[in-house]
Amino acid sequence: MVAEIGQFVLILALITAIFQGVFPLIGAARNSQPMMRFANNAAFVQFAAITAAFICLTVGYITSDFSILNVANNSHSLKPMLYKISGVWGNHEGSLLLWSWILALFGLAVAVFGRNLPDSLKARVLSVQGLVGVGFLMFILFTSNPFERIDPAPLDGSGLNPLLQDPGLAFHPPFLYLGYVGLSITFSFAIAALIEGKVDPAWARWVRPWTLAAWGFLTIGIALGSWWAYYELGWGGWWFWDPVENASFMPWLAATALLHSAIVVEKRDALKNWTILLAIVAFSLSLLGTFLVRSGVLNSVHAFATDPARGVFILMFLIVVIGGSLLLYGIRAPMMKGGGLFAPISREGALVLNNLLLSTATATILLGTLYPIFLDAITGAKVSVGPPYFEATFIPLAIPLIIAMAFGPFLAWKRGDLAGVVSRLKFALLLSLLLVGVIWWQQTDTPIMALVGLGLFGWLVIGSLLEWTERIKLFRGPLSASWRRMTQLPRSAHGMTVAHIGVALVILGITASETWQTEHLGVMRPGEIVSVGGYDFRFDGAETVAGPNYDAVRGTFLASTGIEKGVYLYPEQRRYSDPPMETTEAAIRPMLSADLYAVIGEEDGKGGYAVRIYHKPFISWIWIGAFVMFLGGALSLSDRRLRLGAARRARQQEAATESLSGAKG
């Protein structure tokens, strides 16, 4: 029964989305209030319908209703409850349902929080949002119906891929989708602005919170994905420049560029066309990411589907969305006049540089990701583009970007004083050179890239902190004055400092773990001790243990430095029964200074086990840094100037306080 209800509400959602896509657009053109206001109700109904469908599917999973094909294929009655629920989106059909649900959720958020938006803009935004929804709902209903029945129902399901039975992965797709789909809002705003033929600072102020939110979710989503790869795949790596990873990294880079260019539109009324284009590109890359991952073009754990009908549908959808929006852009963009002038050395100039480097990096990654697909389609040759390509192109573009990240915030709008900035950043330069010098003195064979990476880390952290202390005039007057300045500084300024420091921490984590990682690979017998990265690892043997839906060989290691008590590590080699599959569970002891990482392999038949032990200095800082970046974004987002409808409320409040003080006086 739940499946039929789910199916029905999904169709209802599609019909609503079609109406939402068409009527408000006509209403905005004819200036008809009722037709424009219809968008709000439609957004609500669409959201309610998809929520109901999502609940139906979840009920199917929780009750293990194997008469639903999707549940039978992806669940199992013995699976822990968390994974029964995460199984809802751990497959192709369910993940698309989640995508559509988030799309509708964001549409509803615009309807509810966008009270201050001009009626026509809001109607157009919601209608574009509705049209994107139509595409996804049609895709679900025609090619990937999660509510399809199977008759006769199997006695039990075939289970979820054990690699996906993991808390990190349970939350990785929802966050990534919140980011991907968040970019749909900026896309809708961009299309609406093109239809209106008007982009102004107010537009940028409405767009920026959505970009920030999408960017923050993408950051967390990508970080969770790489963390999962790090501990679940058992290879010790955390980023492989795999096409699926690139598919999420490209929208992130585009969103980062958009975040910065929207500031220029907001503050200086310039770079409008570029910002619109970026908004279109960022969402197009999100769609492309979905296409790459979901169509089965790529060979990866993520590729659930290998049905050509789906590939053709998504390809058509991509052509309509990307082609259509770029066509509209081509027609409308020349009509929009650019605003304020500025010199190349200025805040705007720095942000343009940021955008240039970020979009060039995105383009090189896009090329490397799509090239094998095109080559295969045209010549049939199978190639892959390896990490060396991405490293050789991305790193040289990232270095000037990071150097500029410390400069940019110091520069004034319109016309900056480079010499003045250099003199204020002297301290950062000196300290980072000192850091590099000390490391080189300690270890003269340190690779040059490691010195560059650590130098950039020092430069960016100190540069960001200097800019922050400059703003609050720390030590240039009484501390109380600095405190007052600090509390009065807009939260978005604090947010920028925090996010930039987050980037620096990621650089630290990457550089240090790549440079100073040590490992031991070999067969160990119980009682044997090896020394890795200053720790003695004693192997205490292995035993067979039973988990809820697997059996495992669990090894025991004691890692100690001789000073501390030591920690036990329990890596496992698991054998799942449904579906039959083996996985490696690395045992990781994360610490701020280094991670201890142990993997156990097969027995060699003579009582020894193949083991791999890593000591990875500072690697946790990659994820800490990503989280700090997210915090920076969240801090900016909490800035009341960015809140939709804040301007009006703030003015009312001021008026209220004034009348109050007037009464007092």
Binding site: L341, T360, V383, S384, P388, A392, T583, V599, D604
Partner: protein
């Protein structure tokens, strides 16, 4: 500064960044393209020693020999076979008779030294390149398909 002059600066900056990027792409692209070859392909289109590529096929039955953490095995498309050595922990689903993709290069004496071995992620899955290679070799048995 006039609008035109500003535009000129941007165009120049943009061109120079794109130029640098193009140079980076061109210099690194050729070297980091990793070709895929089946054992039979190697007869027609050999790959010089030292050049990185991906070798795909089935792990030949009875060919796996383990010595500590070093494993020797043959990758075959059932027409030709290539000897492979790999030092490290093999993926969970590495089995005789199963599909495998090994990345690495030939030594001078014709042994393929793998730096990375990818096996399929679950029992029913065959890497598409391997499936194609087997089809080409006329050895494709569709019941192994997903």
């Amino acid at each position: 500064m006039t609008r035109k002059k500003r535009r000129l600066y941007f165009v120049l900056a943009g061109m120079s960044v794109l130029g640098i990027a193009a140079a980076l792409v061109l210099t690194s692209f050729e070297d980091s393209l990793v070709f895929f070859r089946s054992p039979s392909d190697l007869v027609e289109k050999p790959i010089p020693a030292g050049r990185n590529f991906r070798l795909g096929g089935l792990v030949e039955e009875g060919s796996v020999e383990k010595n500590g953490v070093v494993t020797r095995f043959n990758v075959t498309d059932l027409n030709k076979a290539v000897p492979v050595t790999f030092e490290g922990l093999l993926p969970d689903l590495f089995r005789e008779g199963q599909g495998v993709v090994a990345e690495g290069s030939f030594t001078e004496d014709g042994v393929f030294v793998a730096t990375n071995v990818l096996a399929k992620h679950d029992e029913n899955y065959m890497p598409p390149e391997v499936a194609d290679a087997l089809k080409k070799a006329g050895q494709w048995k569709p019941e192994g398909d997903n």
